[in-house]
């Protein structure tokens, strides 16, 4: 997590794009208070993430997490890429139920969002609206 004048920026590094999504999920989870978490749900959910490039897909995934935390009261913890199409990704995720909606993070933005290759890995930054 990186300081930003008014928001929160997350900076990520992982060997593959799938691992980058996992790192983004972990970073988001650090913003969710431990006390809000209930039991882990065992089932995997299948989700579709729109976006034609890696930057849009990463932001799209984080916006999916925002929605799931607020409306379904459910925080993804593990995420796997299950399929890829021109217009987006299919992912499978499992996670933990929340005691109430988590509404601190309202959106993931495209502002300065970047996914780049660096020294055999992928690096990314995404700014969250809080």
């Amino acid at each position: 997590l990186v300081d930003h004048t008014s928001e929160v920026t997350i900076r990520l590094r992982a060997p593959t794009f799938g691992a980058l999504l996992q790192e983004a999920t972990v970073a988001f989870g650090e913003l969710v208070p431990r006390a809000l978490r209930r039991e882990r749900t065992p089932e995997w959910r299948e989700l579709r993430i729109p976006g034609g490039d890696r930057g849009a897909r990463l932001v799209g995934w984080l916006n999916e997490v925002v929605y799931l935390c607020e409306v379904d009261e459910w925080l993804p913890v593990d995420v796997r890429v299950a399929g890829e199409r021109d217009d987006g990704l299919c992912v499978r995720a499992r996670g933990v139920a929340l005691q109430r909606p988590f509404v601190l993070v309202k959106a993931a933005t495209l502002h300065n969002s970047v996914v780049r290759e660096a020294e055999g890995a992928l690096e990314a930054e995404v700014t969250l609206d809080v």
Binding site: S6, P101, V103
Partner: protein, 482 residues
């Protein structure tokens, strides 16, 4: 398509008078118009420390941008557009950009005044603040006291505050004292996604977290007796200020339409310095869809502040008795794009963290304030009170009729937390006699006064620049935060 942007070279920056700096189009080849920043030297230094200027220059590259882009003295880095930014685009060859409105569509401020004085309120202040914190759902959960069906949501989108008038939760006086009567006419419920509806269905009448609040204030100083009288303000009067917006619904509308425009950017042939500036021609299907969704979310936000005001009135009746009155002075948006006429041209004016500030003779200034100016409310940081101003006619040529919206952050949330813990901030406010109700010490730390610019300095620049005239200064008595 995106490309890297850069900060202006010093030779392209000119000081224009004592309240404005201008970055000329010589700063960057892709700038279509200059960038003008309302600031004194101190605020200029603060604004220059983050990426606000670069972001403002990026906005100046967008197609159809008219005359100049502006930053208000409270400007700070946002995403895409800077917060505190104003830009107008021609409706016939210009764009509309969700980033120019922000995620919290029609975030805004509503000021109500009571008929009792602070000295009469006395020891009932603490029970009142406590009752307000109990009555207004805040940020911890998403659900308010209303759970709306799709049909009811559609009525909120289309009718705005008129829907709450019909349900007995608003008065005709409330609507007459709300910007645009609490209803933008261009709303398109079809442009509000299922996800946005899911997020907004139970949030009407809720405050949200972050910098949103309900404050009990007292009128501390009057600077302009005639204008204060027209607005119904008198020294020592108790007032309530409500600051919130369109909650998750507005954020989802922005998210959905940014994503749609981002996918379509190559069709429009627009080169963006920042992807969050995703935009579409105003008259395109994507542009019309965003405008329709944004108007729907704006109407939802006005209903949100109206419903909170309804809850506040109930709380005041419970604590102060059924005769206690609370009259709406005005409700003004500070995150919205509106079609307005300026200089004989039809423009889509984007105000992101900027308040409309029409002068005394403007036809959209409410009838009650003709000859005075449209009220402008500038809240400070938690506990520092707020300022009441009225728009000046000159603002219509100086800033497309706009003024600032707050003190503006100068520290990141993390830096604010590290500088002073929440408990210390709360104790400091308590020593000043300010009652704070906030479920999170972390949030108190993040919203502490030292994390923001100096409110009086910001307002002074707006006043001296001729954008809006100072009418009154309010002091905080109690704060309820999400």
């Amino acid at each position: 398509m995106t490309k890297m942007a850069r900060a202006p070279s010093p030779s392209a920056i000119h000081r224009v008078g004592d309240t404005m700096y201008e970055v000329s189009t010589a700063a960057r080849a892709d700038m279509r118009v200059p960038a003008r920043i309302y600031a004194d030297e101190t605020l200029w230094q603060q604004i220059s420390q983050d990426r606000s200027l670069e972001q403002l220059m990026n906005v100046a590259t967008l197609p159809g941008v008219e005359e100049a882009v502006y930053a208000m003295p409270d400007a700070h880095e946002g995403y895409g557009f800077p917060v505190g930014g104003v830009a107008a685009f021609r409706t016939w060859d210009g764009v509309i950009s969700p980033g120019g409105v922000g995620y919290d569509i029609n975030c805004g401020v509503r000021l109500l005044v009571s008929d009792i004085s602070a000295s009469d309120l006395g020891a009932r202040l603490e029970p009142l603040v406590h009752e307000l914190s109990r009555s207004i759902p805040s940020g911890a959960g998403r659900r308010g006291k209303l759970e709306l069906s799709d049909a009811e949501l559609d009525r909120v989108f289309i009718e705005g505050c008129g829907y709450l008038l019909e349900r007995g939760m608003a008065t005709a006086h409330d609507l007459a004292h709300t910007e645009s009567g609490g209803c933008l006419p261009g709303a398109d419920p079809e442009a509000v996604s299922r996800r946005a509806r899911d997020r907004g269905r139970g949030q009407l009448g809720t405050m949200g977290s972050g910098n949103h609040f309900v404050e009990v204030e007292r009128v501390r100083d009057i600077y302009d007796e005639a204008a204060a009288d027209a607005l119904g303000l008198r020294v020592d009067q108790v007032a309530v200020l409500i600051h919130t917006g369109s909650r998750g619904l507005g954020h989802q509308v922005c998210t959905d339409h940014v994503a749609r425009m981002d996918r379509a950017m190559s069709e429009y042939g627009v080169v963006l310095p920042d992807r969050q500036l995703a935009c579409a021609p105003f008259g395109s299907s994507a542009g019309k869809a965003y405008f329709g969704g944004m108007c729907a979310a704006a109407n939802y936000a006005w209903c949100n502040r109206q419903l909170i005001a309804h809850h506040v009135r109930d709380a005041i009746h419970r604590i102060l008795g059924p005769e206690a009155g609370l009259s709406l002075v005005y409700d003004v948006a500070h995150n919205v794009a509106k079609v307005e006429e300026h200089g004989g041209k039809e423009l889509c004016v984007h105000r992101k963290g900027a308040t409309r500030a029409f002068g005394p003779a403007h036809p959209e200034t409410p009838a009650a304030y003709h000859g005075v100016g449209q009220p402008v409310f500038i809240p400070g940081s938690m506990g520092t009170g707020s300022c009441v101003l009225v728009g000046q006619s000159a603002a219509e040529r100086l800033s497309f009729g706009s003024a600032c919206h707050g003190a503006g952050r100068r520290m990141s949330r993390g830096e604010a937390r590290r500088t002073r813990p929440g408990s210390e901030v709360r104790d400091q406010l308590t020593e000043l006699g300010i009652i704070v109700r906030c479920p999170s010490m972390k949030e108190i730390a993040e919203e502490a006064p030292h994390a923001y610019k100096d409110l009086d300095r910001v307002v002074d620049v707006v006043h001296r620049a001729g954008l809006a005239r100072k009418v009154a200064r309010l002091a905080t008595m109690g704060v309820v935060k999400g």
